[in-house]
Symmetry: C2
Subunit: 304 residues, 2 copies
């Protein structure tokens, strides 16, 4: 194993213009782990309830994902449901039932503590920090957060971010965290808080990497049809971190510019595949060859 992923494992109900699913496997940790599993060995730290389907467990294991850190507790699994707008740029939450995720206290199995890569999904900043502290000497620590924590737990979040190498957030979160509307200025502010590598995800508009070597602009893959954008940002993170882990990237040595940029493209690739089917469906058939073919297509789409 190489990459530890911490966060929510959930069941989701979603409705998009292309269809509806009452209950499908989801959660940030699930998406990140699945996307990263094409590049490196992944171990997850999360919690599910008694209703967690053994078939879902098998699916993750078949992708080579280590579930030693996936606790099963009395009660029900985190459930979220929402409806996407016609253009899928907005969504309205219908239900959020935290269930066993409500008092999630992530504990790393002993074997996880020596792993070189750690990705902290969007949970309370205090919990993220405590997980970070359980790791011995990771080469690369990164994660995600959300508007809710930026607004309600800013101090704790700032303390947490100070210990990260990488932050992956979306543009509205970057603006809220920095107080700057302009993304270039927002990035300077955020990078001064700790994470020297900042990836701002912009959904259908691609992503921007800000690092010591200057910014990098990556487009989103132009999909013919987006079936369901749920999890696309998490799959981006999984592709990004998974590729860096595969390549043995080490921030203590400095990460070469090309590696970081390619990681962003692999992130975009994984986000794009995620959108092609509902939930995690695409990962039941996706192959590494398809991933590398789309990576090449990105080159084709952008070189001049």
């Amino acid at each position: 194993m190489s990459l530890v992923v911490v966060g929510s494992v959930a069941y989701d109900g979603v409705q998009t213009p292309h269809g509806q699913r009452e209950r499908m496997l989801g959660g940030a940790c699930t998406y990140v782990a699945l996307a990263a599993s094409y590049f490196t060995r992944v171990g997850v730290v999360g919690v599910v309830g008694e209703d967690f389907d053994p078939a879902d467990r098998r699916f993750l294991e078949e992708r080579g994902i280590d579930l030693a850190g996936l606790e099963q507790k009395p009660g029900k699994t985190f459930y979220w449901s929402g409806v996407y707008s016609e253009d899928m740029n907005d969504r309205v939450t219908l239900r959020t039932e935290l269930n066993v995720f409500g008092d999630f206290q992530p504990e790393l199995p002993p074997g996880y503590r020596r792993q070189p890569y750690l990705f902290l999904g969007n949970i309370q900043p205090e919990l993220q920090r405590r997980v970070r502290e359980q790791m011995e000497s990771p080469r690369l620590v990164g994660g995600d957060t959300m508007n809710y924590w930026i607004e309600s737990r800013r101090e704790a979040l700032l303390e947490t971010l100070a210990g990260w190498h990488v932050l992956l957030i979306n543009d509205s979160e970057a603006r809220l965290l920095s107080g700057e509307r302009n993304l270039r200025r927002a990035s300077e502010r955020i990078r001064s808080l700790g994470p020297r590598i900042l990836v701002i995800k912009r959904g259908e508009h691609g992503a921007v990497l800000f690092a010591d070597e200057g910014p990098f602009l990556a487009p989103a893959y132009p999909l013919d049809t987006v079936a369901d954008p749920t999890g696309a940002g998490d799959c981006f993170a999984g592709g990004f971190f998974g590729y860096l882990a595969e390549q043995g990237a080490d921030l203590r040595d400095g990460i070469e510019r090309r590696l970081l940029r390619r990681a962003v493209i692999y992130g975009s690739v994984m986000g794009s595949f995620c959108c092609e089917r509902f939930g995690v469906e695409r990962f039941r058939t996706l192959t590494r060859a398809e991933i590398d073919a789309r990576f090449k297509e990105f080159k084709e789409l952008t070189e001049f």
Copy 2:
């Protein structure tokens, strides 16, 4: 001369979060011509009133722009004013006074008819078609249109587009014209109407080129500060067409893929410079060396 540009020459009043101007030189034809003037000799076809400032005429002439087709008529010059939203993604029109532009009947001076390149700014589709018919055998004809004509003059617009090689429009116009929300599918529909080269401008999100050789995704330049986005789309068109004219691009021979892609980047470059100052101000000092430096920067920002 090499490129003929037809469209509005105007005075604009604009207010953005960065300031306000009561009356500044503007109009699509002006912006296209100025941006293109860094690449090729440009002649404009437009109309102004008695109030047109000789200093503005001199400014255009100093950029090498031929004004033989710029008619001066009794009355006042087209005037538009508007206010941009805080994030500058929206604007509200305060006043539109067509004045002498109201019955603009573009007439090409004889020397213009043999020119190889024609850009038709956003005017009534019937007028655009009539100008096109005055040209002898242009190598490349392209232009712009807007929601208003797509909705109110669809038939005339379709007849006009059938004679164009290139259409440059923004994403909402592409969706309205094609009836497709997905840009890839929208592009197929639009390219079947005539223009084999379609550039969809997406403002701060860059541009997408659709051509026989497959799509090309270009980012927008990440500016620290956007002073005034007025005219940025027109400057994109000017950079795009100007570069193709400079390179002697000929659609009758086929245009090589690299040339088209570079034209898109030069379009983005010119649009980005336009936004740095109010109105056409940036073109009072901008040099070709700065343009080429930013082109290189685009390579730097996107290669992986």
